[in-house]
Symmetry: C2
Subunit: 223 residues, 2 copies
């Protein structure tokens, strides 16, 4: 049940420092290319037909690698998804800075909405959420992915506090979660397609709540 090697991680193309030790690993050309091919095939398969049909044999075939390799390095479908999530977390795109909180949050909501409704990434995220609900390792990978994403956007809230747009002590992560939550709730729980109107409503509600201090400790207690 235990895999025999650590997954590729971030050490694929440009290695920082050479290992130099005798028990040398070989993350060089071939291994990196195999990982890339397999992860691409995995994302393709998730986009096309979801998590429950993810099949190691088919992934191996469509990636053009031996199925033994896929079983050895990833072990199971959830292993594939977990490594895909680690890979996705590395590809960070910078947060917006429109000069105002409302604009920044709208940009964030638009990004989330665009991802969830994208014909390719929507199904991928649905599959990844399913995988995380099935497996603990996958759940950790997904949590790590969102931790990375949210941390990139945290400056949006911090700048707003610095500008005096929001009460001191406002939690910038909580603010971002308040924007994402309604969109993900629709997407993952009730399976309604989130709309631009939903995104706008989420931004408005988050702004009002944040201004009232709902995301700062001891702020805005309900009457």
């Amino acid at each position: 049940m235990e895999q025999d090697s650590r997954l590729g991680g971030g050490s694929s193309a440009e290695g920082g420092s050479p290992p130099a030790a005798s028990g040398a690993r070989r993350p060089g050309g071939r291994t990196a290319k195999v990982r890339r091919a397999v992860l691409d095939a995995t994302q393709e398969a998730l986009a096309a037909s979801g998590f429950h049909t993810l099949n190691m044999d088919r992934i191996a075939a469509s990636a053009g690698v031996g199925k033994t390799t896929v079983y050895r390095r990833w072990g199971s479908p959830v292993g594939l998804v977990a490594d895909l999530l680690d890979d996705m977390a590395e590809q960070s795109l910078p947060a917006a800075d429109t000069g105002g909180l409302a604009g920044d949050l709208r940009a964030n909501a638009a990004l989330v909405l665009g991802t969830l409704t994208d014909p390719r990434m929507g199904p991928v995220f649905r599959a990844v959420i399913a995988a995380a609900a099935c497996d603990e390792e996958c759940a950790r990978a997904l949590a790590g992915f969102y931790r990375t994403r949210l941390a990139e956007w945290a400056p949006v809230g911090e700048r707003a506090v610095a500008r005096g747009e929001l009460p001191a002590g406002t939690d910038p992560l909580e603010l971002l979660r308040a924007v994402s939550a309604p969109l993900y709730y629709r997407f993952a729980v009730t399976h309604e397609q989130p709309t631009p109107a939903d995104a706008e409503r989420a931004v408005t509600a988050a702004l009002v709540a944040a201004a009232a201090g709902a995301f700062a400790p001891g702020g805005a207690d309900a009457s």
Copy 2:
């Protein structure tokens, strides 16, 4: 691939009117008992080890019925989950009425939080969300479940509007979704355990946003 009969539905114990026709179905004692035993075993299995390990043979064994029967009536693990959801939707518990909107919403948030953190129902809901992300029929069943639940609580918002606590035109379902969303987001997406503090924050934010008209058409546009 197609199942040969409609699932049990609501016609299990007390039938309203006898069928009387010649081409008679038989939803009588045995069939109903088999369904109950299988659905109980399914929920037990989901609570214990999640959706991806749900196995028709084991369900049949632990329900004490033939595995042919389980395959014939439910076809697959997602069929089991879909029918379980239909069954859960029927067991409706009434909404709170504390006399004030804040109290009602707190009761709703407490109910959601209690369900998601319950040692038995938490894993069941996680499994059900995974199943819905894997299968369209299951997704419809889950959407139906929440439609039922939300409709039961809608009077909370309607009464608040009638009392003048909220702007006219406020969508009561949107208000409830705003309370649930942050809790489900944590539960299903980032896999953090939702806390009473999260529930309280969700209620506070929803109240403030609703009072500002964020859930009424044309209300509270962001500055």
